[in-house]
Point group: C2
Chain length 325, copies 2
C-alpha cells in the first residue's frame, strides 16, 4: 500500500439498479460502517448523485469518520463507463447518460474518487480478500439476470481503452439464437442468463410441466427469480432442473473457451444463479471445463464459489481506489 494511505479510511460504494450500498473501511479494510438505500427515486441523475452522497455521508457519520480522513471513494457502477474521466456514459438500469460521477463526488468529499465497473469491483474484491486471493490470474464469472465477467491478471484488472470489458455474457453461442439485451442474437446471455432460464421455465410452467414452479412463481419472468428456480428443483420439478442444467452446461462451455484464452489460475463463480444453486453450478461448470478446456490450462485450475457475497463489490471498489493511489 502507498504511504499516503496510512491512517486513511476508504469508502467502497456499490451502485445497483435497485439498491445502493456504502461501506467505510479502515486502512486494513476492516469494515467500520455500512449504509444502504434504494436506488430509484425516479428523479434523474442529479437526484441520484445526491442520494449517493447522502448514503456515503451517513455511513461516514455512523463510523464517526471525518471527510478529511478519507483516502478515496471507489464506486462500482453498472453500464458503459468512461473509466479515466469517471463518467457514466450510459446506464439503462439507472436511466443515466453522461453523468460525471467522479467529479461530483470529488467536489463533495474533497478526496479522490474512482468509478469502476460493478462486476470488476466484485471480482477485484474476491481477488484481494476472497476466493481468488492473490492469484496470478483470476477469472470472475457471475451468472445472474445477466452474465458478468472480469479478469484480474498480475494484479491488474483487464480493461478496455475507455470502458471495462470481459463480456463473457456476450460470447457468441448460437448462429440463429434469440435476441440479446445488447441488440445482437445468440449471445451466451440468451441461453444461460437467469432471464433466459426464466423464459424457458415460464414456457414449461405454462404448459403444465413445472407444477411447483407454477405455484411458487407463476409464469411471470419478474417472479421467476433464481431462488424460485432453486426451490422448484428442490420440490421436484424435473423440467426446471433440466432447463437449469442445460443452461449451466452452456455457461461451462463458454467459460472453458475463456480458460483456453486466458489460462486463469482461479475461476471464481458468483451471481444470483450460482448463489441459489451452488452445487449444481459448480458441478456442471467443472465438468464442462474438464471436457472442453485444454489440459495445460486445467491441471492447476481451481473453480471455486465466491466468498464475499454482497460485500465483494464495496470491498473491491474501496481496494481499487486504495491500490491506485
Amino acid at each position: 500500500m502507498a504511504r499516503a494511505s496510512k491512517n486513511r479510511y476508504w469508502v467502497g460504494f456499490d451502485l445497483g439498479g435497485t439498491k445502493m450500498m456504502a461501506a467505510v473501511f479502515d486502512k486494513n479494510f476492516n469494515i467500520i460502517a455500512t449504509r444502504r438505500k434504494k436506488t430509484k427515486d425516479g428523479k434523474g441523475a442529479r437526484s441520484g448523485i445526491r442520494r449517493i452522497a447522502e448514503t456515503i455521508e451517513e455511513a461516514l457519520q455512523t463510523a464517526h469518520i471525518d471527510h478529511r480522513k478519507l483516502g478515496g471513494i471507489g464506486v462500482g457502477c453498472p453500464g458503459v463507463l468512461d473509466l479515466d474521466r469517471g463518467v457514466v456514459l450510459q446506464a439503462p438500469n439507472l436511466g443515466w447518460r453522461n453523468v460525471p460521477l467522479k467529479k461530483e463526488l470529488e467536489r463533495t468529499f474533497g478526496c479522490r474518487a474512482l468509478i469502476v465497473n460493478d462486476v470488476d469491483a466484485g471480482a477485484y474484491g474476491e481477488y484481494r480478500f476472497g476466493a481468488g486471493r492473490g492469484a496470478r490470474c483470476v477469472l470472475g464469472v457471475f451468472p445472474g439476470t445477466g452474465i458478468g465477467g472480469a479478469c484480474i491478471y498480475d494484479g491488474q484488472l483487464i480493461r478496455g481503452r475507455v470502458n471495462s470489458c470481459m463480456e463473457i455474457g456476450h460470447i457468441h453461442m448460437q448462429p440463429k439464437g434469440r435476441l440479446c439485451g445488447c441488440g445482437r442474437r445468440g449471445c451466451l446471455e440468451t441461453v444461460a442468463s437467469r432471464l433466459a432460464i426464466s423464459a424457458e421455465a415460464a414456457e414449461a410452467a405454462y404448459r403444465g410441466q413445472t407444477p411447483h414452479l407454477m405455484e411458487l412463481a407463476g409464469t411471470d419472468l419478474a417472479s421467476i427469480r433464481s431462488g424460485a428456480l432453486a426451490a422448484a428443483i428442490r420440490e421436484g420439478d424435473a423440467a426446471v432442473e433440466a432447463i437449469v442444467r442445460h443452461a449451466a452446461k452452456d455457461l461451462g462451455i463458454a467459460v472453458a473457451s475463456v480458460v483456453n484464452l486466458l489460462a486463469p489460475d482461479v475461476v471464481v463463480l458468483g451471481g444470483g444463479l450460482m448463489e441459489a444453486m451452488p452445487g449444481l453450478y459448480l458441478k456442471e461448470i467443472r465438468a464442462a471445463i474438464k471436457r472442453q478446456a485444454m489440459k495445460p490450462y486445467t491441471q492447476h485450475l481451481k473453480v471455486v464459489p465466491a466468498k464475499l457475497a454482497d460485500e465483494a463489490g464495496v470491498l473491491g471498489a474501496a481496494a481499487l481506489v486504495a491500490d491506485s493511489v
Copy 2:
C-alpha cells in the same frame, strides 16, 4: 531498453515444424544477418538442438559477431512449453518431449536464452515493430493450418502460469462438431483452419464442384494449401470461395467474442490463409466484428493485416529477450 543491452546484439530464432531461421539484430533491431535450415533430420531432439546451435552460429559468423557481444537469444517454439524453465514439454511437430532448450542454448552461447511460444513471438514482433506498434492492447490472430492467437496487454504478453495461452483456435463453436487436433470436438480450428477448409474443399473437388482446385491440387489435403485455395478462387471456383468465406465468417464470429472479452485496440491478422487471401479475410472478419462485437469495443478498433511476414517471429523473439533483461 535496459542499460545492459547497450552495444549488445540479439538473436531471434524461429523454430518451425518444417524450417528454422536465425536472425542477428543490433541494439536497434536492425537485421544484420539471417540463416535458414530445414528443421527435420529425423534424428531426435539432441540432433535438433545441435542444428539450432549451428544455425545460430552460422548467422553470427555471417554477421561477424562474437558470442560475447550477444545480449541474449529468443526462440519462438511450437508446442507446450514450460516458459520459466525454458523446456519444450511437448512438441508433436518436432517429435520433442521434455527438451531443456533454454539450458542447452545458454551453455552453448554463454548468454541468456528465452523460450517463447511461436505465435506469441510473431504477435510481439508486430506489437513492437509492425502493425500493432505500441498499442495498449494488441490481439494477434493467425489463421493457417491451425489458428493461433496472442495478446499483448500494456506491453506484456498474456500467458498462462506455465505455458502460453490465448488459444483462439480452441474456442468452442459447435456442440456436435468435428474432431479437433486437441482431442475435443467443435473447436474453431475444426471449422475455420486451413486444414478444415482443405477437407471441405477436397470433398467438393471429389464431387467435381471445383474444377480449378482439382487441377491445381487434387483431393489431397497436403496439396490443398492456402495458395492453391486462393488460386482456385481467382480462376473461378465459386464452391471454393463459398467454403473459404464461410470459414472466414466463423473465424470473425470467434474474433468478435474475443473483442468483447479483451477490447483490443488493434487486431492484427496474419497466417497462411490471411496472407493468401487478405482482401477476403479482412472483409469477412471486419464485417463479423461489426455485427457481433459490442459498440464500446469497436468504435476505435483497428483490424489490420500483419506487416512483418516471416520476420515477425525472429523480431519478436529477439525483442522479448531484450525487453526481459
